[in-house]
Amino acid sequence: MGELKLRAEPFQTGRAAGPTPLNALGDNVLTSTLDKVINWGRSSAIWPALFGLACCAIEMMGAVGPRQDISRFGSELFRASPRQSDLLIVSGRVAIKMVPVIRQVYDQMPEPKWVIAMGACASSAGMFNNYAIVQSVDKIIPVDIYLPGCPPRPEALLDAVIKLQRKIRGEPLVQRPA
């Protein structure tokens, strides 16, 4: 894949990344309601891509399992093909050899797409500060939610998905009581 340079800072995501066609229409009653409806639709059925790398993938499978059941939150199916999925859960440590593969899988996903960096290794290389592990997946692809843990419990992954849903709907990620 040729020379691939990593960035020192992560990509910008979301609104900061630039205007979408809806944003370009400006804020008025019609587009704000349409915005809400579309975002509600997008957030309610996020289908992740099957992208388990290492140990976090096992806890991701646990989140699919009967006790935690991620499909309650809309992620009914994990799609094998990135072209049919919305969410890339990078679950596990990212080795140097895997970098072009992750980039290609991310590029193959159609917009709108989101990324959860699951686990300490995807967020910041975890305990592996060495030659073989890329020091965070956000040097390769933009990340929306960072989920710490080694590995994070399936409930933590569900929490990340819920926060992502709030982010998609434009709500604050942490809702405090009034």
């Binding site: 020192a8 050899k97 500060n129 060495n130 030659y131 073989a132 890329v134």
Partner: protein
């Protein structure tokens, strides 16, 4: 074969191969022998065919930069029938370390020797397919050598400044 062959196994190897057997040791119940590289394949074949060491456990190397020769290549084999184990070692010197490949004796050594080439840079003469296995094919350098610096990124604490740091570049 005698009930406890390992005590006399070294003697048998010594009688058969004379000076090729450079050292032997029995540390914590693990028998190891150091063989000169030229005779290694013959010793290996003898061990497999006549002493029954049919099962290769692993093959690797150890880097001793302060020593010359620098590398010690290690193969560990087991005899499933006799429940014994022996560690075969040989040495390789810089520059351009070479040892004979034991894939002709134990085909299972194939990937283990490829990995040792990948991580240490020791060439196995006679290996059918010596190429990188764990690192990307265009990687330069041999990570497990002691002079290969391994950190991914220097750790920055929140009260330190970020300027003057180069972004990491991926090689290959």
């Amino acid at each position: 074969m005698s009930v406890n062959p390992t005590g006399t196994l070294v003697q048998r190897i010594g009688e058969r191969f004379k000076t090729a057997l450079q050292e032997s040791s029995d540390f914590r119940g693990d028998l190891s022998v150091v063989i000169e590289p030229g005779t290694l394949v013959d010793v290996a074949r003898y061990l497999k065919v006549e002493e029954g060491f049919d099962y290769l456990l692993h093959a690797t190397a150890v880097d001793w930069p302060a020593r010359d020769p620098r590398f010690t290549a290690v193969w560990e084999v087991r005899s499933l029938a006799n429940k014994t184990r022996i560690r075969l070692k040989t040495t390789a010197a810089m520059p351009d370390p070479h040892v004979p490949s034991l894939t002709s004796v134990w085909p299972a050594a194939n990937w283990h020797e490829r990995e040792t080439w990948d991580l240490f840079g020791i060439t196995f003469d006679g290996h059918p397919d010596l190429r990188r296995i764990l690192m990307p094919p265009s990687w330069e350098g041999f990570p497990l050598r002691k002079d290969y610096v391994s950190f991914g990124e220097p750790v920055i604490f929140s009260d330190q400044k970020l300027e003057g740091l180069e972004p990491d570049a991926i090689r290959g």
